[in-house]
C-alpha cells in the first residue's frame, strides 16, 4: 500500500493532481524539476499514466453508473462505445467540469499566471483530458481552450521534435484577445504529424497586443525561459510522441 520514496518526492495525491492538470504553474514547474532527476518519481508517474490509459477500456462506462454496481460491472464492455460517444461530445465542449468546479471561485487567479492553456486529445473515438507530460501519437487530434481570469491576449505555439517552431494560434500578426472565462475554446484543432520526438506546447498570455513574430522568436531562442515582453506569462507542456 506504500511506495518507496524520499522525503522530497511528491505524494501520489500530488502526482494525480499534476496529471489531472490541477496544479498551478509554479507548483507544476517545481514538481517537473524534481521528477526530471528522480527515477522513482518517473517510474511512479509512468505507472499512474498507464493506469489512466487503461481506464477507458477496462473500467465501467459512465453510462452504466445509473445501474446497480453488479449490473454495471457486467455490462461495461458492451457499453464502451457509449463512453466513446460521450467523450466525442466532450471534445466539442472542451472541459466543462472546470467551469463547474470553479463556479464558486470567481475572482481567484491561477498562481503565477492570469491564464492557462487547456486541451483535449482525441484518438479515434476516445477523448482524454490534456495534461502535462502526456503520451500522444501521430494522428491524434488536439483541441484547445483557455482559462482566463481576465481578458488576455493569447498565442499557442508548438515546437516539434526537430526543433521547428510553429504558430498554431492566432493566424494574425498580433496576439488575439480571449475573453475571461473558465473554458474559452479557441478556433483551433491540430492533428499531430509523424515527426518523431517530443512535441512542446507553449501558451503565451499577455496583457496587451504583442507581435506574434516576437513571441515566436523568443521561443525559438529559449523554449525553457523565453524572453517575452513585460507582463506576459508562459506555459509549457511536453507531449511525448509514441512510435506508431
Amino acid at each position: 500500500m506504500t511506495r518507496q520514496r524520499s522525503a522530497d518526492c511528491p505524494s501520489d495525491l500530488r502526482l494525480d493532481q499534476w496529471l489531472a492538470g490541477e496544479l498551478a504553474q509554479v507548483e507544476r514547474a517545481a514538481l517537473e524539476a524534481h521528477a526530471a532527476g528522480c527515477e522513482p518519481c518517473q517510474r511512479r508517474r509512468s505507472e499512474l499514466m498507464d493506469a489512466q490509459r487503461s481506464f477507458a477500456s477496462s473500467a465501467p462506462a459512465f453510462a452504466a453508473l445509473s445501474q446497480s454496481p453488479a449490473k454495471a460491472g457486467r455490462s461495461w464492455r458492451a457499453l464502451g462505445p457509449v463512453l466513446a460517444a460521450a467523450a466525442a461530445v466532450l471534445l466539442a465542449l472542451g472541459q466543462p467540469w472546470r467551469y463547474w468546479l470553479e463556479r464558486d471561485q470567481k475572482n481567484t487567479r491561477t498562481k503565477g499566471s492570469v491564464a492557462q492553456l487547456d486541451w483535449v486529445v482525441r484518438r479515434g473515438e476516445r477523448v482524454v483530458a490534456g495534461r502535462p507530460d502526456q503520451s500522444v501519437r501521430a494522428g491524434d487530434a488536439l483541441r484547445f481552450s483557455i482559462r482566463a481570469h481576465e481578458p488576455v491576449y493569447a498565442a499557442v505555439i508548438g515546437r516539434d521534435g526537430a526543433g521547428h517552431v510553429i504558430v498554431y494560434y492566432p493566424e494574425a500578426a498580433e496576439l488575439v484577445q480571449v475573453a475571461a472565462g473558465t473554458d474559452q475554446p479557441l478556433p483551433l484543432a491540430i492533428e499531430l504529424d509523424a515527426t518523431p520526438g517530443d512535441e512542446q506546447l507553449h501558451g503565451v498570455f499577455c496583457p496587451r497586443p504583442v507581435a506574434v513574430a516576437q513571441v515566436k522568436q523568443a521561443i525559438e531562442r529559449s523554449a525553457d525561459a523565453p524572453a517575452l515582453p513585460p507582463g506576459c506569462s508562459h506555459q509549457r507542456a511536453t507531449l511525448h510522441k509514441e512510435a506508431p
Binding site: M1, L13, F55, L65, L101
Partner: protein, 159 residues
C-alpha cells in the same frame, strides 16, 4: 452545461485515480469498482458536494477513502488487528499480503476520523500540510489527530 455532463468529464479524467485508490485500500477489484460506482453515482445525485473545493482530486481522494473505509468496517468481523511491527515506522516499506490484511483490519477498528488520518499519513505518506488540505482542517488539528493516532498505536502494542 448540465452537471451530469460535467461529472462525465470528471469520470474520464479522475476516475482512474479513484479506482486505483479503492484497489489499494480494499485489495479487491470487484469492491474497488463498486466504490468507483458509488463515488460517481453520489456526485450525479448531489453535484453540490463539490461547491467551494479547489481541487477535484483532493475531494475525490476523500470521498474514495470514506467509501473504502466504510467497506473495511463492514469486513471487520473477518479481520485481525495490525501486526506489532507496523506502528511507528519512520520509513514505510512495501508490506506483504498478511500485513496488508492486518492493516485493513486495524483501519476498520479505528474511529472514522482517525482511520482517515491513518490512511493519509501511513499509506499515502501525505505531509501534514497536504493532510490538512484533504481533511479541510488546520495543521494544528492534524497534529492533534496524529498524536491521538500514535497513542492508540502505543496502547495497542502495550507501550
Amino acid at each position: 452545461m448540465s452537471p451530469r455532463l460535467s461529472i462525465e468529464t470528471l469520470y474520464v479524467s479522475h476516475g482512474p485515480a479513484v479506482l486505483r485508490r479503492a484497489r489499494q485500500l480494499l485489495g479487491d477489484e470487484a469492491e474497488a469498482q463498486e466504490v468507483l460506482h458509488d463515488v460517481f453515482t453520489s456526485l450525479i445525485q448531489d453535484p453540490g458536494q463539490f461547491a467551494g473545493m479547489s481541487s477535484a482530486m483532493t475531494f475525490l481522494y476523500r470521498m474514495t477513502t470514506n467509501a473504502a473505509l466504510g467497506r473495511l468496517r463492514r469486513r471487520r468481523t473477518h479481520a485481525r488487528l495490525l501486526a506489532a511491527n507496523y506502528a511507528g515506522r519512520e520509513e514505510p516499506t512495501a508490506p506483504n499480503t498478511e500485513t496488508l490484511v492486518e492493516l485493513r483490519a486495524w483501519l476498520a477498528s479505528l474511529p472514522e476520523e482517525l482511520a482517515q488520518v491513518a490512511v493519509y499519513y501511513h499509506m499515502d505518506e501525505l505531509t501534514q500540510e497536504e493532510l490538512a488540505g484533504v481533511l479541510g482542517c488546520s495543521r494544528q488539528w492534524v497534529g492533534k489527530l496524529l498524536q491521538q493516532l500514535q497513542q492508540l498505536q502505543r496502547r495497542r502494542h502495550g507501550k
